[in-house]
């Protein structure tokens, strides 16, 4: 088996494993036969299936790691990007599937497999007693395969194929609980995913038609030779729409704060930590291959990035739902990453050929991606544990849950510090790199505003994470009985869950603790994907100068927490306690305010009216003809008596009579049927004529007249 075949195995193994897991769940009941099992309603634990799911993702991780080590960037052998593995499966799906593996892809393959493994471990306890577990595991693994397919794709066609697949398989995660909220969120998710996918397809069509290739490694060259920039930008815009929708970029983020909270916690971790990154992956391809160092593109991305970053952070500050806060936080972090991508695309100011800001932005972006994946794994797992025990996500209900639970508190804190960008934790390094990139670039006032907003959003991040941590782990619950119940929960997670939580938490700590040894190397291996090869100068992360940005953010965060969150979002209750309120105006929701009314009310009504009109066009013509030119000729009406004249006369007289009855003869109306009378009269006249015509005297009379006429003739002529 050649090394290249490994790529196919990496992508297709989860699909196979998914089927096996499903079969195991359906046909082996672990000794215990569940009785009266309705289709899709199984709730029992099935150790074989659960273990197999974990094993399958662990095997995937091992394979991904081994294959990563084959690569020169990790094994230390000589060779650049060209030595990447490349696999071509021709003819399949029309254009053939193409996979490749380089530093970036290898890292993301490993991170994905790792996250899936932890999610699978956690699912065992989390899903206990839930319905449709088989379905969940099946689609869990299928989505892993699809995600790997996206990350390993070597051409945009393959990317698209697996991207679509991933959208559909992950739909099942969102809808898994089948509650009302889940069904609605899933609808939104599907709508955004399908729309995004199709617009992206349009972009791919345009791009293929314009450049004649979809191979990612050939795109740079083809784009450079492309003269028609408008079409290129149209194609890029369409694809940005598709990828941005998946990444949760403003204004297509609407699905994100809804879908993450309703999905089961392991799935939320993956949705937020990994699936959004597939969108970023696409945007990275666009930015580094098609629009490298193009100012317009860079500014567009900066704009989107800042809006997403700030919008997500604001939503998160206001939210009182644990998972929703985390989801909004994801959106915000995606914004940070997008800002990084935007910086990456900005051309060097002045005459400097290779600009420092590009290097910084590239490293900051890829590192923040990895950081965010790992952080969100820990945070969502913690949220899952809270929900599993407290059965609520509302901050007021779960307040104080984490007291006296050091393991949970420690893990959550590790995640919170990392995402808040506190020095010595992972997020600090990547945020500093991104900040440095903006600072180094300098530029005009607009860039100063971007920098300020960057730091402000970082501050908000600190603020909302502080809010969550204080509420969960420091404050006591308003309801003292509930607090007692929470304090009494000693065994709030089983060993598997503890392993998942601690494993992810420790990895996060280890990853962040050694910025030079681990993170910079990883970034160096990953940046080849962005077309950058040389290593930038080492950044001394812990110099005072570089810490300044983080300190400003932390300061803002402290201010926000103390003077905004505690004052305005924590309302005094009648009992003297305080509860968290969501002060975000309810109507200010892009989906409810614009998208749903527009798509479900305005457009269907307008189209409906148009449709009705169009539809009746042909039929109306037929009906019109039938009623006019091709009207049935009238049936001959049999008159009961009389003839046309008597009827007309009678009708007229009847009308006169009726008019008279209503006016001058109102006192004593007359009711006489003149039609009948006229008919009778006419009949009488006819009879009389008949008699006369047949009589002898009539004959004689005619003879006399004849004689008289003859006489006159003879006399005068």
């Amino acid at each position: 088996m050649s090394k290249e075949t490994g790529l196919a195995v990496l992508v297709f193994w989860p699909f196979l494993a998914g089927l096996l897991v499903w079969a195991a769940g359906n046909f082996c009941h672990g000794g215990r036969k569940a009785k009266g099992r309705e289709a899709g309603q199984e709730k029992g634990q099935n150790h074989l299936r659960d273990g197999f799911a974990v094993g399958a993702s662990a095997a995937e991780l091992a394979m991904a790691a081994v294959m990563a080590l084959w690569l020169p960037v990790f094994s230390g052998a000589a060779g650049g990007d060209g030595a990447a593995l490349y696999l071509d499966i021709p003819e399949i799906c029309g254009m053939g599937l193409h996979f490749t593996l380089d530093g970036f892809r290898a890292v993301y393959g490993c991170v994905a497999a790792f996250m899936w493994m932890m999610a699978a471990v956690f699912s065992r306890e989390y899903l206990m007693g839930h319905h449709n577990q088989n379905r969940f595991y099946l689609f869990l693994l299928w989505t892993l395969g699809a995600t790997l397919g996206v990350f390993l794709s070597a051409d945009l066609y393959t990317t698209f194929v697996f991207f679509e697949l991933m959208s559909f398989t992950s739909y099942v995660w969102v809808v898994q609980e089948e509650s009302k909220a889940a069904l609605k969120a899933a609808d939104t998710y599907l709508a955004v995913a399908v729309t995004g996918g199709l617009v992206m397809l349009m972009g791919i069509f345009l791009l293929y038609h314009q450049l004649g290739t979809l191979e990612i490694r050939e795109l740079s060259e083809a784009a450079a030779g492309c003269t028609d920039r408008t079409v290129l930008y149209a194609a890029g815009g369409c694809m940005l729409f598709g990828f941005g929708a998946k990444a949760g970029a403003f204004p297509l983020h609407v699905w994100l704060p809804k879908a993450h909270p309703v999905a089961p916690a392991p799935a939320s971790a993956l949705l937020s930590g990994m699936l959004t990154k597939t969108g970023i992956y696409g945007i990275l391809i666009l930015s580094s291959r098609l629009f490298f160092q193009e100012e317009a593109w860079g500014k567009l991305l900066l704009l989107i990035g800042v809006a997403t970053m700030l919008g997500g952070a604001l939503l998160a500050v206001f939210s009182v739902d644990l998972k929703r806060t985390l989801a909004c936080s994801s959106m915000s972090q995606i914004g940070f990453i997008l800002v990084g991508v935007g910086m990456l695309s900005l051309p060097a100011a002045g005459n400097t050929a290779t600009s420092i800001h590009t290097m910084l932005a590239a490293r900051g972006t890829v590192l923040h991606m990895v950081n965010h994946s790992l952080i969100k794994l820990v945070l969502f797992l913690s949220a899952g544990i809270v929900f599993m025990n407290a059965h609520s996500l509302n901050l007021n209900d779960i307040r104080g849950f984490g007291r006296k639970k050091p393991l949970l508190a420690g893990s959550f804190l590790a995640g919170a510090l990392a995402i808040g960008g506190i020095p010595f934790f992972g997020g600090y390094v990547s945020k500093t790199l991104l900040h440095e990139s903006i600072a180094v670039y300098g530029g005009d006032t607009a860039m100063k505003v971007v920098e300020a907003l960057f730091l402000f959003s970082g501050g908000l991040t600190v603020g909302y994470m502080a809010k969550l941590f204080v509420a969960l782990f420091i404050e006591k619950n308003e309801d003292s009985r509930r607090q007692e119940a929470y304090d009494g929960m000693k065994r709030y997670m089983n060993r598997g869950t503890a392993f998942a939580l601690l494993g992810s938490g420790l990895l996060l700590l280890g990853w962040g603790a050694f910025p030079h040894a681990v993170m910079e190397r990883t970034a160096g291996a990953m940046q080849g994907f962005l077309g950058l090869t040389e290593n930038g100068e080492a950044v001394s992360y812990f110099s005072l100068e570089n810490m300044r940005g983080a300190m400003i953010s932390i300061g803002i965060g402290a201010l926000v927490y103390l003077f905004f969150i505690r004052r305005f979002l924590l309302r005094r209750t009648e009992k003297g306690g305080a509860e968290y309120v969501n002060a975000w105006p309810r109507w200010l929701d892009l989906e409810e305010l614009i998208y749903r009314p527009l798509l479900l009310k305005v457009l269907p009504t307008a189209l409906g009216i148009l449709c009705r009109l169009l539809d009746s066009l042909a039929d109306c013509t037929v009906v019109l003809l039938r009623k006019t030119v091709y009207r049935d000729s009238k049936l001959p009406r049999e008159r009961p008596e009389g003839n046309l004249f008597t009827e007309a006369l009678g009708t007229f007289l009847n009308a006169v009579q009726s008019a008279g009855n209503h006016t001058w003869r109102r006192g004593k109306p007359v009711h006489r049927d003149y039609v009948h009378l006229a008919a009778v009269k006419s009949e009488e006249i006819r009879e009389t004529n008949h008699i006369i015509q047949r009589s002898l005297s009539f004959g004689l009379l005619l003879v006399c007249i004849g004689i008289a006429l003859t006489l006159f003739y003879i006399i005068w002529w």
Partner: protein
């Protein structure tokens, strides 16, 4: 011998059908065996013909001059004949099971089988007169099938059907007379039969006539504004709506449109003229319009019928591009759409057959009970949307490629329309799938207690269609090679 075989495949179903009411069948079973055998034999003969292509034409009857009824097998004809021959035996099997519950089985089978021969006649027609002859026959033979239920609604629908069909044929007739009068021959010749030197002064007239002729033939394809009959005709039993009104009859219209465009009038005359833009605009409107109506429709079969309206216009869009690539795309979609729509219609039929439910809101929770049917429905829904890996994507890909290659504002608009339509298709198909599989947490499963999958006779066709969809989606090479060969001569 091979030439005579062409006549045999047209006449065999005809006589099989005629004999159904006459033969004294001892049981329903023996009638089933008789029908299924006859249809299978005919299909085998057709496939044999496709492998041993007859080189010559077969003139059955000659009126005068170049007016003759003649059969010949050539490029597009083989594709159409192959689709029909592959699907009819399976659809017949489905019909036998489906019609068990209905009245007047025999008259239904009679016409159902005769239609097979006539559709083959259209596929094998060598000249425009022959095609027109079979085209008219088809309208008349399928009328009793639409009327089959004998309800008030059915009678009204069939009357409407007749109006539309005859009206369309009248327009087509005008086109035919002009081809006969001014063309160098009445036969179908790749590239057209009009000699540009001789007909230069009649160019504008010919364009107008082409327009009428195209619209006339497209009435059968339910092109807007002649689309209303198709959803109304879905009162007919499902085997009719599925095989005739999603595949055989409606494809006849598309096939005829291809013939007159590429083989009678010729694209050289038409390309770049106002006629092309008008036709294309009509087609694009139909694509979006059909989808929008499908979205609003709550009746299961009617929703699929509207979807058919939209999808057939994909085929016409390929035709209206008037390039060889466009024709290849149109033929690809003709093949793919046949499988997809047949499968989804038969799923709807299975639901009606087993439970008598007609409306989409009644399908909650069906996915778990009729799991096989709805699994196949889901796959066909994804295929219709154009999810990569299934055949719908392949045909859309070719159509879009052809459109982009041909250029022009309207062609780009057409690409946009295809994508909008894909989005709407996703909504109207997936809303059914979601209902069936995710009825909600509080759903009372006892409501669907008695729902179950139908027997193998019904499932066989759907399964085969699904296999085809996946196979064509994953490995479309052989099909597109054949089609590219066909359009090479243009």
């Amino acid at each position: 011998m091979r030439e005579v075989m062409m006549l045999i495949v047209v006449l065999l179903p005809f006589f099989t059908g005629i004999l159904v009411p006459l033969l004294p069948f001892r049981s329903r079973r023996s009638m089933w065996i008789y029908l299924e055998t006859a249809v299978c034999v005919n299909s085998v003969l057709v496939l044999w013909l496709l492998y041993h292509m007859p080189e010559d034409r077969l003139t059955i009857f000659r009126f005068t001059g170049n007016l003759s009824v003649t059969l010949r097998l050539d490029g597009p004809g083989t594709v159409f004949a192959a689709i029909v021959a592959l699907l009819w035996p399976l659809a017949m099997l489905y019909a036998l099971e489906y019609m068990k519950q209905e009245d007047n089985e025999k008259s239904f089978y009679t016409f159902y089988v005769i239609t097979y021969g006539i559709v083959l006649g259209v596929a094998l027609a060598e000249n425009i007169l022959t095609m027109y002859f079979f085209f008219e026959m088809l309208s008349l033979v399928t009328l009793p099938l639409v009327m089959h239920e004998r309800t008030r609604e059915a009678v009204r629908a069939s009357r409407m059907y007749l109006f539309y069909m005859l009206g369309g044929a009248a327009f087509a007739f005008i086109g035919m007379t002009f081809v006969l009068a001014y063309g160098s021959t009445s036969s179908f010749v790749a590239g057209g039969v009009f000699d540009p030197a001789l007909t230069a002064d009649k160019r504008e007239n010919l364009l107008l006539i082409y327009m009428l002729c195209f619209c006339g033939f497209s009435v059968k394809t339910a092109m807007w504004p002649f689309s209303a009959w198709l959803p109304r005709a879905s009162v007919a039993p499902t085997p009719v709506t599925a095989l005739l009104h999603a595949v055989a009859v409606v494809n006849t219209g598309a096939f005829a449109a291809m013939r007159v465009t590429f083989y009678s009038f010729g694209t050289e005359l038409l390309r770049g003229t106002w006629v092309q833009w008008t036709v294309m605009a009509l087609v694009i409107i139909t694509i979006v319009y059909g989808c929008s109506r499908a979205l609003k429709e709550t009746h299961f079969k009617r929703r699929l019928a509207w979807s058919t309206v939209s999808n057939l216009s994909y085929i016409l869009f390929g035709v209206a591009l008037m390039t060889p690539l466009g024709l290849a795309g149109a033929l690809t979609h003709m093949v793919c759409h046949s499988f997809m729509k047949l499968c989804s219609f038969f799923c709807a039929g299975a639901v009606i057959h087993k439970t008598g439910r007609n409306y989409i809101h009644e399908l909650d929770g069906f996915g778990w009970k009729m799991s096989k049917v709805f699994l196949m429905f889901t796959i066909s829904a994804f295929a219709l949307m154009g999810v990569p890996g299934l055949c719908g994507f392949v045909s859309k890909w070719y159509l879009v490629k052809a459109a982009l290659d041909s250029g022009g504002t309207l062609a780009y608009a057409g690409v946009g329309a295809l994508l909008v339509s894909a989005l709407l298709t996703a909504i109207y198909m997936l809303s059914i799938v979601v209902r069936a599989f995710f009825p909600g947490k509080e759903f009372d499963y006892s409501k669907v207690k008695d729902v179950e999958d139908p027997n193998w006779m019904m499932l066989l066709l759907m399964g085969t269609a699904v296999l085809f969809m996946i196979f064509l989606g994953l490995h479309s090479g052989p099909l597109t090679e054949v089609l590219e060969q066909i359009v090479e001569e243009l």
